[in-house]
């Protein structure tokens, strides 16, 4: 029943989408500047239908309708309702439906919120966006249909991968999707802009809000993924330069560059084609990431059951998208001779763009290189953190200095920079770093530089709030948070403590300034898993502070899997992070303990970073 409803709604969505494209072409032929009312109406119907379609799938997960293969493969009657719902997008087919929802809603919102821009530009955007929607709808219907039925109907489902049964992972995909699928709208708008010659300031204004909102969500999505990796994977790290993590970071770099280049386009009417390239690049990188993850070329928790035809479809779609955009861009490209003074805000923003491109190319190379060597020479290599750390970290130091100075520079032509003030700020940053190393612990030269440059950015941005001219709080909060983010990551990296040892029940062990006691082990039965819960008391001998942590070894029923759950005690100064694993054929448990200072501030910095984005969105909406 739900299978039929779902398929019917999918077909209906395809009809609406085709009708919008058809009507839009007719509308383009009309000489007046009015978009047909019918286009608005069908767009609304299209969004509503897709939403109902998605809710139908959620309904199937809630009632455990195992007549749908998708529900059978990814759910189970005993699964808590929250994870039944999040299971809807925790698999390839359902998540594609979420893709289409965002494509559709963004298409509709763009249509109704950009009424002060010319008809041709808006209608062309609508056509391109709906071609994308149509492509994905066909992909869903013929290749990745979440409403495919199974007969005979199984009595029970296979369950969702336990590692994905987590609140952070339930919200991670929707946040990330708003980010990178949201970038589709400025991909379409950029194409439409080139086709209709609608360039300059007005174009920048029409897409700025969309860039900001997708950037903010993308930032939050990456954050939630990192938090999940931190407490779920049990290694105590939060960023592993895993190709799948990189896939989410690549569009973020492009978006950040775009966000800044749009400021120049809006203010000075220069860098138009560069902004267009960034618009196209952002969404292209998003689809490339999706291709790499979904085709099974990269192996990770994000790789859903492998199906070669799926990869072929996304690759064909990606190729079409790339060549269509490159063709249009080349056909319409006109070389411009933008005059930019080297001592101006424009130059500093361009420098920001170069840095972003440098990071983007580095991460892209690191991610694709193993695929290339594998395909060309059958040589399996892996590019890991040492590559990224050694290439990216030293450059971050220089980047932070430019980031601090850039906002102080004026548009068009700046007077001389006030080097005296800058030297004072650098002096302050060096003093802060000196205090840290003197009172706590010394660290490597590069760590010193990272701390100094991040403090430089923090102080410098803070001083910007005292400026007499109009203050852009959104920018200040974002730059300030980014400075803090790097600062806290630097401190966290240098001051983390890690201990590895074995303990058996009742035993106490003293390591450095800590006593660890395994006081108790409890077996607890939950709905969808049972857990061995350890009670480990940690006494800090220098402060007499006692903490009890409860790491778990979980045994999930469906599918039967063993996972190790870290126990984390967080406060504003540090995290105690502890995992416990059983040692085969022994009554000892392996304990991995980490003390990670200022961990929560890393998360808070990223939340603030994206808050800056949201603030900028509101500011921009008000201005327009």
């Amino acid at each position: 029943m739900l299978s039929n409803t779902g398929n019917f709604l999918l077909l209906l969505s395809i009809s609406f989408t085709s009708f919008i494209i058809y009507q839009s072409f007719i509308c383009l032929k009309e000489t007046n500047d009015v978009i047909f009312k019918s286009i608005y109406k069908i767009s609304l119907l299209q969004s509503t239908t897709i939403l109902i379609c998605f809710f139908t799938l959620i309904g199937a997960f809630i009632v455990s309708d195992f007549s749908l293969i998708n529900v059978y493969q990814n759910s189970h009657t005993l699964k808590p309702i929250f994870y039944k719902i999040s299971g809807t997008w925790g698999n390839h087919e359902g998540s594609l439906l979420l893709w289409v929802i965002i494509l559709t809603i963004f298409s509709f919102l763009f249509l109704i919120t950009n009424k002060n821009h010319p008809k041709n530009y808006r209608v062309n955007t609508l056509i391109i966006q709906n071609i994308l929607i149509l492509g994905f709808l066909f992909f869903i219907l013929f290749n990745s249909n979440p409403f495919s039925s199974i007969s005979p109907i199984p009595k029970e489902g296979l369950g969702l991968n336990p590692i994905l049964q987590d609140p952070a992972l339930a919200i991670h995909p929707p946040l990330l999707y708003v980010g990178f699928v949201g970038s589709s709208i400025y991909f379409s708008a950029a194409m439409a802009s080139v086709i209709t010659n609608y360039s300059g300031k007005s174009f920048a204004q029409s897409i700025k809000s969309w860039v900001i909102i997708s950037w903010s969500f993308q930032t939050l999505g990456i954050l939630v993924g990192s938090i999940w990796a931190y407490y779920e994977l049990g290694w105590g790290g939060f960023w592993f330069w895993d190709p799948v993590e990189n896939a989410s970071l690549l569009p973020w770099f492009a978006m950040t560059a775009l966000l800044h280049s749009l400021l120049v386009l809006e203010k000075r009417n220069i860098l138009y084609f560069w902004s267009i390239i960034l618009c196209l690049l952002t969404f292209t990188l998003s689809v490339t990431g999706t291709f790499l993850v979904r085709s099974g070329i990269l192996n990770s928790v994000h790789t859903f059951a492998n199906d070669p035809s799926r990869g072929i479809y996304i690759l064909s779609f990606l190729s079409l998208m790339i060549f269509a955009s490159v063709y249009i861009l080349f056909a319409k490209y006109k070389p411009t001779h933008d005059q930019i003074n080297s001592n101006s805000k424009e130059t500093f923003i361009l420098i920001n763009n170069w840095f972003m491109m440098f990071y983007l190319i580095t991460v892209l190379l690191g991610t694709l290189y193993p695929i290339f060597t594998d395909a060309i020479s059958n040589n399996k290599i892996s590019v890991g953190p040492p590559f990224y750390n050694s290439v990216i970290i030293p450059v971050v130091v220089v980047f932070l200095f430019f980031m601090a100075v850039g906002p102080k520079v004026k548009w068009i032509k700046n007077g001389f920079l006030n080097f005296k003030d800058l030297l004072k700020i650098i002096g302050g940053a060096i003093a802060v770093n000196f205090v840290i190393t003197y009172f706590f612990k010394s660290y490597s030269l590069i760590s010193n530089l990272i701390i100094i440059s991040s403090v430089f950015l923090i102080i410098s941005t803070f001083l910007d709030t005292f400026k007499k001219s109009k203050i852009n709080f959104a920018r200040i909060i974002s730059h300030f948070s980014f400075g803090f983010l790097i600062f806290f990551i630097g401190l966290n990296h240098n001051f983390s403590i890690e201990k590895d040892f074995n303990l058996k029940l009742g035993e106490t062990i003293k390591i450095d300034n800590y006593n660890f006691k395994l006081k108790d082990l409890k077996l607890q039965q939950y709905d969808n898993y049972k857990a061995v819960i350890g009670k480990i008391q940690i006494s800090d001998l220098s402060t007499n502070e006692k903490r009890t942590l409860n790491p778990e070894i979980r045994i999930y029923n469906n599918p039967q899997t063993l996972t190790y759950e870290a126990s984390i005690k967080t406060n504003f100064f540090r995290d105690y992070y502890l995992t416990m694993s059983n040692i085969d054929r022994s009554d000892y448990y392996n304990i991995k303990f980490q003390k990670k200072p200022l961990m929560i501030w890393i998360w808070i910095s990223v939340v603030m970073l994206s808050f800056g984005g949201f603030l900028s969105f509101i500011r921009n909406a008000k201005n327009n």
Binding site: I297, N299, V301, L315, S319, A375, P559, Y564
Partner: protein, 173 residues
């Protein structure tokens, strides 16, 4: 000049997309299913702990042996590790771990953190031995019987389904 840039960009894009396409078809290249049913050749693996050598005779005494190729730097190996731990509880099977292109200290830490399912642990620091087993990438596992005949090959991380599959095979002697 502009024309050259345009052509270069297009060629670069074709190259990247072409590689993606090749990678997609790669799965059929490393389909070593044809090895199933064959007998393993001469095994000569260096023990992880000392320099002693594991040979065919070491595995002939086991009803079944699962040869698992892994490394501490390999994320999917972490994913399949609980399955190996579970399998190590079975009586009819012994697991031989071949540590692939890894550093000893990292490998030991991996096993300390996640548990050690291996009855035998061998090292293949430069990856050459693994090639003799038809290993394409890791993780990969080969199930052999006491006559060293390859019963099944598992490319990629072992799933629960694979685990049940192995259990079925070894318990239906």
């Amino acid at each position: 000049m502009q024309k050259i840039i345009k052509i270069t960009i297009i060629l670069l894009l074709i190259f990247i997309l072409g590689i993606f396409f090749l990678s997609l078809n790669k799965s059929s290249n490393y389909n070593t299913e044809s090895l199933v049913g064959n007998k393993l050749g001469e095994i000569e693996l260096v023990s992880f702990e000392d320099d002693s050598i594991f040979t065919n005779d070491d595995f002939k005494k086991n009803s079944f042996t699962l040869i698992n190729f892994w490394a501490s730097w390999c994320a999917p190996c972490r994913v399949e590790h609980p399955q190996l731990m579970e399998l190590s509880k079975e009586n009819n099977i012994q697991i031989l771990g071949v540590n692939f292109k890894d550093k000893k200290i990292n490998a030991l830490k991996f096993l300390k953190d996640l548990g050690d399912p291996y009855e035998y642990l061998a090292r293949d620091s430069n990856g050459k031995q693994s090639v003799n087993f038809g290993i394409y990438g890791i993780p990969e596992s080969i199930l052999i019987d006491d006559k060293l005949k390859i019963i099944k090959k598992f490319v990629g991380p072992l799933t629960n389904q694979d685990l049940n599959n192995i259990k079925e095979i070894i318990n239906n002697l």
